[in-house]
């Protein structure tokens, strides 16, 4: 008797009459089996939820809850686990189970489940077929019978692997307790490959939410120094830092360079009017971190006034390597937007001499591309320069209008 009681209190799914050991599993089952959108496979929480989802997102009407018994397909009844089941159905279910069990001896229950009967059918047995003892199913689910197609009966368990909505993102992200440790270390291993900023910066900042202590961090802008000093690889353009790849199976749709889309866009020649910001980023940290390529590029730039060709070449080399793709993109984009030149870049000429200043050494990749690109090729048809299209923006290397570095 006691055991029967236990069985009766087992949660069951209103939509398919299946029983579960645990309401949690039942809810997972319902989400996977009955509340899953057939179009985008999103798992909703209730039947009405599914119907609203389909209506709003896919503009489709759902008139039946998927995989439900014919008389239980109502999408308007809000059922979540055992909540919301019409009282009449609850009673019927109980009665039915009793009548099913009655004939079967009570010890039939347990073996039945272990014995793995052809449960695949039973699972969907309509309530009108009491003889098929739906209750026996449950254990069968937990210990899957060998012959069972996993996709089918194991469904209720499956959500473990793929929790709904936002949850998938969470486990890999930040186990909260990890974040709580006070060393700077713990958060990092979570994204080992990812932290593009230098260790000094990270070290100073420490744990994420540590209140700032003194001005220590301010003196160490992290992202800037590291890449320069570390970019020893020969022909590579020194990068300010690039966006880490995420792996082979995924791709971040973003230019390689780790600066904002706005900064990249601002380099387009049409936005070059009177802006000189590209050179001055990181004015504070611009000291001695330059690579040889950089100085070459810089000196090349300085000579630009005299030898245009040399510059173009030097730049072509620089640019070609890493910025090819990006610039190509820009070229295309620029082609689509009419280049708007409001006037000659007035500040340019005055700016040019400053180039020779010592701070030039710090010019980093984006800057190389940047300033050179910024001035529209006034008076110089791009075709004149025999350069890959991507370099076009570099072309306007007219003497005197190359760049107007303010801070470097």
């Amino acid at each position: 008797m006691g055991r029967k009681k236990k069985k009766q209190s087992k949660p069951w799914c209103w939509y398919c009459n299946r029983e579960f050991d645990d309401e949690k599993i039942l809810i997972q089952h319902q989400k996977a089996k009955h509340f899953k959108c057939h179009i985008c496979h999103k798992k909703l929480y209730t039947g009405p939820g599914l119907s609203i989802h389909c209506m709003q997102v896919h503009k489709e009407t759902i008139d039946k809850v998927p995989n439900s018994l014919p008389n239980r397909s109502n999408v308007d009844i809000e059922i979540y686990g055992m909540e919301g089941i019409p009282p009449q159905d609850l009673k019927d279910h109980e009665r039915q189970k009793q009548s099913t069990r009655g004939p079967d001896s009570s010890d039939e229950d347990e073996p039945a489940s272990k014995k793995v009967k052809p449960e695949g059918l039973l699972g969907n047995a309509p309530p009108g077929m009491p003889g098929l003892m739906p209750p026996g199913m449950v254990p069968g689910l937990v210990h899957p019978p060998p012959g069972l197609p996993p996709g089918m009966q194991m469904m209720p368990m499956a959500p473990m692997g793929a929790p709904p909505f936002m949850h998938p993102g969470m486990p890999p992200m930040l186990p909260p307790h990890m974040m709580m440790q006070s060393q700077p270390g713990p958060p990092k291993p979570l994204f080992p490959s990812a932290v593009p900023s230098s260790s000094p910066g990270a070290a100073v900042v420490g744990a994420d939410f540590k209140p700032i202590s003194s001005g220590a961090t301010i003196s160490a802008p992290p992202t800037t120094n590291t890449p320069c000093s570390s970019s020893s690889s020969s022909s590579q353009t020194p990068k300010s830092s690039t966006i880490q790849a995420t792996g082979t199976s995924s791709k971040i749709i973003h230019p390689l360079e780790d600066i904002s889309l706005e900064e990249i866009r601002a380099r387009l020649p049409k936005y070059s009017r009177g802006s000189s910001w590209q050179k001055s980023e990181d004015a504070g940290s611009s000291t001695s971190t330059s690579t040889s390529e950089m100085s070459i590029a810089v000196s090349a730039a300085q000579q630009a006034a005299a030898t245009q060709a040399a510059v173009i070449q030097a730049k072509a080399q620089e640019v070609q390597h890493q910025h090819m793709a990006m610039m190509g993109r820009m070229a295309a984009a620029a082609a689509a937007f009419p280049v708007r030149v409001s006037g000659p870049p007035f500040s340019v000429v005055t700016g040019a001499p400053v180039m020779a200043g010592p701070t030039m050494g710090v010019l980093r990749a984006p800057l190389i591309g940047g300033p050179l690109m910024r001035h529209p090729p006034i008076g110089m048809p791009p075709g004149m320069i025999q350069m890959p299209p991507g370099v076009m923006y570099g072309a306007p290397m007219f003497p005197g209008m190359i760049m107007q570095p303010r801070f470097r």
């Binding site: 936002m166 994420d208 540590k210 880490q244 995924s250 780790d258 889309l261």
Partner: protein, 332 residues
């Protein structure tokens, strides 16, 4: 239920990428739009027409209302301008050394804050002229938001600084973001408990301001704005975040062209709108949360840009409680 006629395009949109859309403080009617075409425009979204516009010397990167008839804006010309829509007069308020990326208004203290790629935030007290303060953020400012009397600044190098606007002598907090990629946007919860950060790597973090470890435990992040195509998962920048002013839920817009609405406290997605033609660059809920403005512009994210660039478009979408209200309001 919801039909797509709840959404329409604004007429006479900007001629270049849309950098920011912002609804007026107490209206569903007026929308301020800044664009890379160097104009700031005021739209009447109810009548669907362009009311006024004024220009900068160069692309405008951000704008904000300070009250129903005054706007502030800044951009690549390094200049903060204000405009009075009643008198149609503009004035130059001040400049940064580098382009101004963010312009925010703090209602509590009646001041405007600008964040720039010159690593500084400037505070502009509207009662006086000129900048009242210039504060080093040690990196380029990428995104900013006010949170009551606090200012949240997200910079390059994945840093977040929290300031008390009443006392900008020091930063209250300086954090590294919990996201491992460049920050795109930061927005405070209307209930001021925390903020949402989005990154270029299809991910959004929900963080809390209170540094109490118990509270900090609740922070989390989740993936979004990703599209699987032939086994390759394309991960898009999440460019825009806008909070529903009442429900504390928020919409995110990505370069995948989708807008999702999330319930950050219950970790649920409430809905996803249809895919827009190109990247969603800016979002703004109106003051009562009944309308969402969606700015769409292609933003050079891809290696190979589409052959014909999609138009710059602003969509005005009526949203329902169903789309924006937490389903299970465990906390109201």
């Amino acid at each position: 239920m919801m039909k797509s006629q709840a959404e329409y395009k604004l007429k006479s949109p900007p001629d270049d990428a849309i950098s920011s859309v912002k609804f007026g403080p107490n209206t569903n009617q007026f929308l301020l739009v800044s664009s890379w075409d160097s104009y700031v425009r005021l739209y009447d979204v109810t009548a669907n027409n362009l009311r006024q516009k004024y220009s900068h010397e160069n692309a405008v990167l951000d704008c904000c209302f300070t009250d129903a008839v005054h706007s502030y804006s800044g951009g690549l010309d390094n200049t903060l301008k204000s405009f009075d829509f009643n008198t149609a007069t503009e004035s130059v308020i001040g400049t940064h050394a580098n382009p101004i990326k963010c312009v925010e208004y703090c209602n509590e203290l009646n001041c405007v804050l600008t964040g720039s790629w010159d690593h500084h935030v400037k505070l502009w007290d509207l009662r006086t002229s000129g900048a009242s303060g210039n504060y080093n953020q040690s990196e380029r400012v990428y995104s900013m938001d006010t949170c009551g009397e606090k200012l949240l600044v997200a910079t390059a190098g994945r840093k977040v600084l929290v300031w008390d606007i009443r006392n900008m002598a020091y930063a209250l907090q300086k954090r590294e973001t919990s996201l491992k990629y460049q920050t795109r946007a930061i927005k405070a919860f209307p209930n001021k408990l925390g903020f949402v950060l989005s990154s270029i790597e299809g991910r959004v973090a929900v963080e809390y301001l209170d540094s109490n470890p118990e509270i900090q435990k609740k922070k989390y992040a989740f993936k979004c704005h990703r599209i699987k195509e032939d086994g390759l998962e394309k991960i898009y920048p999440v460019n825009a975040v806008s909070f529903h002013p009442i429900h504390n839920t928020f919409a995110t817009g990505g370069s995948d062209g989708y807008v999702n609405v999330w319930d950050g406290f219950n970790k649920k997605r409430l809905c996803q709108f249809h895919q827009y033609l190109t990247s969603v660059t800016s979002l703004s809920f109106s003051h009562n949360g009944s309308v969402l403005a969606i700015g769409c512009s292609y933003f050079l994210e891809e290696d190979k840009p589409p052959s014909s660039l999609p138009e710059d478009t602003i969509y005005i979408r009526s949203v329902t409680d169903q789309e924006t209200k937490p389903k299970y309001s465990s906390n109201s």
